[in-house]
Symmetry: D2
Subunit: 441 residues, 4 copies
């Protein structure tokens, strides 16, 4: 039976704290798609198909034709940054897209100028922007962001708004008492508690207004009890954290494959070179720590060494990120994987990924924006685990092991859509294609 | 409800046409496992777990503890080859395993000597063995193999027997009229029809006796209507074809991952270097053709360019296999994958797999033997699509697109086991972990 | 004592049969350098230094400041092709250079239009151009090319002219009787002997006029006794053959290094993917043969297996070139080198070169043109072995083993320049920096 | 004219401080060569040829047949270590060589037991061995080592002795006043100055006795004015420092090749994984610093960015060494080189070297031992720059830029040998092979 889902009519505002490489690439892409200059490659919501029914029915619509999503033509953009460059200028500086393409959509991009940021340099030492809000307490800051959102929605005439964090990675810190309940958090805001990160303030503002929130960086942000509580209170969907791109994307593709075949693993060494601003921020060990924690958990959760000690008990996992200017945004990774098979014989796999970081991240911003808006219209609230397909470090119910295997995440996403749209879930059993395969008796 | 399954008591004979690198590595491994010298790494049947019930139930038994499989201690081995070397000598020549290990199980290996082969040099030009059966018609040859099987079973005191083709790749040929029905086939045997390959004769002999048959090479063998008909008639399970190892294994891991993310693909170039006897046989273009066809289909079936023309319509897929003696059995592959993402930007993935061909294939022989014996005891017959997890070129019901995505194949295998054992199928939906996630009304 | 060298005054015409990817990239580069838009990177003649005297003298001038070469501003270009596209259009189609750069020098490029080619489709089957000269005998054809050269020199007001073959690779053929002497060759021209390749006709025309000739393709062309004889007769320098770029460049860098250390080698596997017109021509086995022969000799001559049988006696060398359209001109190579060291232990080196074929070849055209003009002015004639630094398959005196080691080739080039300019040759002995190092008695 | 060289008669003792992976591999190799079980692969002194005279003379003897070197059968071994394992046990623990090979030479290896080390834990924090000499002042320690050497020579009946440092890398420190003159150094010994490293004490002891000394690690050791002074005083040859193997070997092969062609370089990123004791010591940042300094200088000296600012002015060079246990002694490196060519177009080279550290280092120990003994007999003393071919960080005359280009180093080595043996130096000019190439007039 199909679930009740509100229509996607009117404009959808996408607000992003952080108008850097990822956000500007995302915006430029959607604007060029609107003009017919490119396609939403990498967006599962736009280009992905979903199989319905039996294999022989040949029902395989595009997801966007199956599920009522906002149309790309209805998207409007806004955001905050600690630098005052408009989106055109920021995109030129990011050196992700070629100049020829950028000129073609220059007016659209120039018209988007960042609002002043809610910022605290203690959370990102390598940034020196000055386009920031002044404030007494974090509570005032949150109110200012709430006003920003309301004004944006009014000015742009948006039917609905969603927010996706595209700001820099904040330094590593763990959830403290001030993050444990909404009451403690709100008290903390008033006390200007230094443990409340800027990203949390944006998330608090969004959720207070019932604006769905997704987190593309590895910071805690909405992954704390206080904000989960708020999301349930205001019946708002949330999803986090850290866009799954590049090396980790690869890892969650390859590791399940090796594990599926019961191949053992002695070690996995991952190194990266990148030369963009994100790389510069991550050159600070405190900020790198946040990223590292987000990246390291992946293998353990897929391989489950506790259950497979003979295969994965001694696995040595090392990750290095190197700031290397020649590479700019064209991040490159090299992985060496030491596996072993039958009778303990050793083999090696080396993967060299010449990727483009923001090119991989941009369509994820789009899909998270479209799906989290859809989730809201479908009456869903709180943690949306089915979006973990897009995230390096998926937020789950307390005590629930996150699922990192991208293929299980995909089935979860697709079966969630099938479920909401009243279609049969798919199990890939398929014995019924084979008449009489089971001699019953 | 649990399905009725016969017990796995008594000895299980594993008969292999072709006692070369793969078969001897398989046998040596099982013998060393019996002696406690190694573990069945790479065998999903032995080392793999299967999740049952909800994630929070923490039920994750080993497959071999969940499903009644034959015990490794009950396995006994036999086979045929065109060379008369016993398994110890053949293993030494194959240079897969180290001498120190082989000495430790020498008596067990020396005791296994090949029976004379059913052979026809027209199907494998690069072989010159003389340990072959003489015959008038292929019908006589089939009868001789039937006798071999019966004698083996009696001499070894086997409760049950299975057969796995581990012989060389035969030259490329397509199914002709003589392969279209059991009647035509049996007439062809009597007429000594040159289009009936030696591998088909082994398969015919096995199926006639109700012995389950799996095909590890890319030859047609049991993948013809005549032998499917026979398998149904004698209620015998069959599975084929071509062990999924090395580069193709990688391809069916990576391609689904890229497709899952709606990343486009311009080209995939695959090259291989290998220096074993298999490589030498494949240096003959006719035999390579058989392998190439088996390897090429994989991408198309996963990416479905007809449904995704903008992403995969222009994909250029090229596969090269190079005989290169220095590498011996340590086959190595290099893949270059040209992908594109958001706004058409190009990226590259390069995968260098230093693998060991027979080390990857040996546990597949084991799993196919164990599972096809299990299938027989569970009353299954004909094509076992759920074993396509192990095969490069899975045999399916006529008209049914084979599924190459290894993750869908794994779910199919696991859900088949769950189904037969009366457990719930798994869908990864998981909304029920999130109380009140859906505001109903 | 310095050798007598004529001044480089007035214009130098550079004529190229074949205005394809390499030639147009070369011309576009020089034109953009003239306009100050780029630098002659990769040109040793322009950017390379040469050490003079002792290390402590710190004399290390640019080669172009040491040796009297033609100035880039004095270069003018012309050529022939079987397609009638001007250099701008041909460059756009070649997809080597970006459009933005090409627009900036469009008028200069558009003004260069190819003359009709001396062509014979039997030598390049995959080409279908029709911009070709009609002729009765090859002798007439040669006369027509001679006229072309004279007209070009007059129209452009050139002081001197050189010719560099940048045409497609012709099919493999070996020197026959008709190529053995000038007399036989000229008779062959008159008899329209089908074994005289088009490239030989261009070379004959050039040498007849005393125009220095260099050959960038692996065809025989001037590497036959007849044309060597002619070059001596008209006192004209010649050099060939096959620009040393990409994988072979790498090979002649790496192999001498490994050999220097007395490391053994079991095998070298080289594979290439490329998708330009050159790749398409080489997809024809007859044309590939010419390239393969040129590429294969390299290792043998460097490693000298006959003198080092224990290190290189069993070396297995395999080269593959694969036409792979996604790659266009961005040729990519992957090499796997199997070496062994102390006590026979094995090691592997893998080199992945993401190169750009024409970008590497263009400065070689420049250097050959500049140096062969210089050679002529310095009174040199016949085979210029000191230019083998630039060539995959260097032409040498009969019976003289070619030197492939790029470092020996470089010393040869530099010591030739030092010699002609009256400077001390360099031996790197350098004992004199160490006072009293030798206790003489 | 041939230089006066003493005969190589009688036994040559090779003493090594540090009987770890490299030293035991070296000793095992020579012992297995003595027994005819293997060849001295990787030893230029044993397997390398040297061309004499003109190319057409075909004189190309083995170096060992050209120069009077000690015979391998005359080598005897000894050493010191902070662990008391004999060479057999130490070799087994090092896991470099296979057990089967080690068993075959077990008695020879077991008979070599280390003397107690001159050690100071402040210089190598990650070591905890206790097989060390007790001492009051470093002066006493030096005397004890001098006694060790004398005893060894007497016991083994050696005609001559050489010493090669094969000990762990000591922490980074720079030459201080105490290292500036022999007088200051000897005073420091007596004052037990903490800035005198253990390796210097061994070198001091050796040089005092006229025993030639070579340094295989990147520590200063004999690369200080005090010990150069001593080497001249006692007319003893010295050479240092840091065996050139693996990644740096590759770098000094590749970089000269790219520079030879005037290709620009934007960056070179080098990463390593290794899991042996050397890797464990280098995991301490202070010890890594010593190695890093030794490795970093290489590129700058080859590319000379000051003279080639347009090509190398912005070169970014980064080196990472990662302790990664699965790799053991099979060190592996991955290099990414960002180059640019004609018109600034970018290209990439990736080199993946699966090497074996000690296998590459062992023959260097041999060659240094043989050549430095030869140098002594040839009457040479002080710094032997011609041995820089073997060293990452060659010691040179004060103020003289070290030469890192391995090909120039090789010519220097070979021309030194030619010079000492009275043969013509080779310049590769070779014009004389071409009669009449120069039209004189
Ligand atoms: N593939 C990817 O690019 C990828 C993948 C996973 C996660 N991420 C994360 O996405 C985020 C964005 O990546 P990017 O490449 O665009 O980085 P970027 O540095 O180009 O952009 C981040 C922007 O955020 C701004 N910013 C920082 N703190 C802010 C604040 N408090 N308020 C408003 N603006 C703020 C910065 O000024 C900067 O312009 C990073 O956290 C990165 O780690 C990116
Ligand atoms: N990873 C892998 O090793 C792998 C993967 C997929 C498929 N395969 C296939 O498995 C098969 C075995 O591979 P291998 O490496 O062991 O090859 P192999 O050449 O070492 O062994 C094959 C053996 O089959 C024998 N043979 C050939 N025709 C026969 C006949 N008619 N009757 C009896 N014996 C016969 C040969 O003499 C040979 O000893 C090959 O077809 C190969 O293509 C192997
Ligand atoms: N790095 C390199 O690019 C490289 C290296 C070594 C050698 N080469 C050789 O250089 C040559 C040029 O390479 P390219 O990439 O420019 O190839 P290309 O195919 O782009 O250009 C060759 C041109 O020659 C023309 N041509 C063929 N026969 C001709 C004839 N008889 N007269 C006049 N024109 C003729 C063709 O029409 C074509 O336009 C090829 O032979 C190639 O093998 C190139
Ligand atoms: N390819 C190579 O292996 C390579 C290349 C260049 C340099 N090196 C250098 O060679 C040296 C040896 O390398 P290895 O792989 O054999 O290392 P290793 O750790 O296996 O051996 C070094 C040995 O030196 C001993 N030692 C340390 N200080 C000592 C002292 N003061 N006196 C006596 N013994 C002492 C240690 O106990 C150890 O057994 C290291 O400094 C390494 O950096 C090695
Ligand atoms: Na290939
Ligand atoms: Na690294």
């Amino acid at each position: 039976m199909k679930h009740q889902i509100k229509e996607a009519k009117g404009k959808l505002g996408v607000l992003m704290p952080g108008l850097g490489a990822v956000a500007t690439t995302f915006i430029a892409g959607v604007e060029s798609i609107k003009k017919g200059l490119s396609k939403p490659i990498g967006s599962v919501a736009q280009m992905g198909h979903i199989r319905l029914g039996k294999r022989t029915e040949n029902r395989n619509p595009l997801i966007k034709d199956f599920v009522p999503l906002a149309s790309l033509n209805d998207l409007v953009f806004g955001g905050w940054d600690v630098y005052e460059d408009n989106v055109y200028t920021a995109a030129v500086k990011a050196e992700v897209l070629d100049r020829f393409m950028l000129e073609a959509i220059r007016p659209e991009l120039e018209s988007i100028v960042p609002m002043k940021a809610a910022f605290d340099k203690n959370f990102v030492k390598n940034l020196d922007g000055t386009h920031v809000k002044e404030y007494k307490t974090r509570y005032d800051l949150a109110q200012a962001v709430i006003e920003d959102i309301k004004n944006f929605q009014k000015e742009k005439g948006c039917d609905r708004v969603v927010m996706v964090w595209c700001g820099s990675t904040e330094i590593y810190h763990e959830a403290a008492d001030v993050h444990q309940s909404l009451a403690a958090f709100e008290q903390g805001l008033k006390d200007n508690d230094a443990r409340i990160a800027p990203s949390m303030i944006y998330a608090y503002a969004a959720l207070t207004l019932g604006v769905p929130f997704a987190n593309g960086a590895p910071n805690l942000t909405c992954d704390i009890p206080a904000l989960v509580e708020l999301s349930k209170k205001t019946k708002t969907p949330i999803a986090g954290k850290d866009f799954k791109t590049g090396q980790t994307l690869m890892k969650t593709i390859l590791a399940p494959g090796l594990q599926a075949r019961a191949l053992g693993m002695e070690g996995w060494f991952s190194t990266n070179i990148l030369g963009n601003r994100d790389g510069w921020v991550l050159d600070d060990p405190d900020n790198f720590k946040t990223k590292e924690v987000s990246k390291l958990g992946v293998l353990e959760d897929i391989l489950m060494p506790d259950e497979n000690p003979e295969l994965y008990g001694d696995m040595y996992h090392k990750i290095r990120i190197n700031y290397y200017p020649p590479r700019k945004d064209n991040k490159e990774s090299w992985d060496n994987i030491d596996i072993f098979g039958w009778m303990g014989y050793k083999m090696q796999i080396k993967v060299n990924f010449l990727c483009r970081d923001s090119i991989l991240a941009a369509p994820i911003v789009l899909d998270l924006a479209l799906f989290i808006d859809f989730a809201k219209r479908a009456g869903m609230s709180g943690i949306q685990e089915w979006l973990s397909f897009y995230l390096k470090s998926p937020q789950t119910a307390p005590g629930l092991r996150p699922e990192h295997d991208i293929f299980k995440q995909l089935i979860k996403l697709q079966n969630t859509l099938r479920y909401l749209m009243g279609e049969d879930l798919i199990t890939h059993l398929g014995l019924d294609y084979y008449e009489g395969i089971l001699n019953e008796g």
